[in-house]
Amino acid sequence: MRGEGGAITKLVEEFRRLPGIGPKSAQRLAFHIINLSKEEALRLAQAITEAKEKIRFCSVCCNITETDPCETCADPRRDHSVICVVEKPSEAALIEKGGRYRGLYHILHGSISPLDGIGPDDIRLRELLARLADKSVSELIVATNPNTNGEATAMYIREVTRLLGVRVTRIAQGVPVGSDLEFADNSTLAHALEGRREM
């Protein structure tokens, strides 16, 4: 019996590490898993393992991908002179769903957050600057979140690219301050992108 208790505790602890999962939700999920049939549980475990094995980060834009470079970066029909900078892969996916944007992306995997000790070196900014080295990029569209950290990140990007001769624009404030881009709908985001302004 003791061994079974240990396994449940371990499962609950693993769920608790996930974002947005409190102790109660973790327990609920753990019991849900235990009630699954063996096949269902193995399918879930396999999906996790497979995702972990196949999915990597694109060496160009840092998006999650199964091929390197990713499909977007490898597509010759896309405009390789424009890069839209976002915090998370889900935000690039949202813009992509809008179907209007033809440029490339750069995923920072986070934002500068002084209060959490997250500085410029802790997100994928160095990778972004490396993409500007050969002067083939003419515009950076900074689409970080319209909140304190997102704005700080945008400001930092503006500062460090000042001498590189690249145009830096910021998405329009169609998205309310304080909210998260991932909760915006396609059209709001499309408008924000089209109404971008020089920083």
Binding site: P114, D116, T148, V177, G178
Partner: protein, 250 residues
């Protein structure tokens, strides 16, 4: 339901749509509260729950509860000039982080609250000499918290400081060369004089008070060590500030 002035010190995402907000209030001290729906684009909170915002909040308090319920918040001052400059943002973050560490829950904190507000307001209108502002804030924070180091004379032998002294948190202040045995952070007598002045001078004087870089570095290093001795943790915002160009160095 209680209506209170507050400053948002820090926020954490809790679920898909809600956040935990850490507030400093004048009469309830530090308050941790849940704000539901705040991450949605049509949230009633708007930008009021971004860190470093002075708000009027409506909180539903229940004694003995770990997390209170935040039902409404309206922005009184979002300090736009702090947000539009990375150095000011870094300093304001440091100020809020220290407040979060020093403030207690369920305790009259009107002195801390007043200190926080004036520090943020002064920072918002400051464009230079940030080191004076930061040193002044550190000293006043320690003072309000009853932890002000003795900087007028040696804590042990009570003699005046000549040449240099060592600021040592465990001793509660400056130790002269004879009493210290070399532990603690070395500070010159001139720096101690600067600290005495910055502790009491008017806030409006700070952006006109330029401190030579070596003194500023020395004082900030000593005060950082002093504060970390009391809080037991490295300051995250200080780490961010170090990644920016040096304070006051044009």
């Amino acid at each position: 339901m209680e209506k209170t002035e507050a400053v948002v010190l820090h926020t954490y995402n809790l679920t898909e749509s809600s956040k935990i907000v850490v507030l400093l209030t004048p009469y309830r001290g530090k308050v941790r509260a849940v704000a539901k729906g705040v991450r949605r684009t049509k949230s009633k909170f708007g930008s009021a729950l971004e860190p470093i915002t002075h708000v009027e909040a409506e909180i539903y308090f229940k004694d003995g509860r770990d997390l209170q319920n935040l039902s409404q918040a309206e922005t009184l001052d979002a300090f736009p000039s702090i947000r539009s400059d990375l150095t000011r943002l870094g300093l304001a973050s440091l100020i809020c982080e220290l407040m979060e560490q020093f403030a207690q829950e369920d305790e009259d904190s009107s002195a801390l609250f007043a200190l926080l507000l004036i520090a943020l307001k002064t920072l918002a209108s400051t464009t230079k000499n940030y080191a004076s502002l930061l040193i002044s804030f550190y000293l006043r924070l320690l003072d309000v918290s009853g932890l002000l180091p003795e900087i007028n004379h040696c804590v042990r032998c009570r003699r005046g400081i000549e040449g240099h002294a060592y600021l040592e948190a465990s001793a509660g202040g400056a130790l002269c060369g004879g009493c210290s045995g070399g532990a603690g952070e070395k500070v010159y007598a001139g720096s101690l004089k600067i600290m005495q002045r910055l502790l009491t001078c008017d806030w409006t004087m700070l952006d006109r008070t330029r401190i030579a870089q070596p003194s500023a570095d020395e004082i900030l290093r000593a005060l950082n060590t002093y504060i970390i001795h009391h809080t037991g943790r490295e300051l995250r915002s200080a780490r961010f500030l170090r990644s920016l160009p040096k304070l006051d160095r044009e």
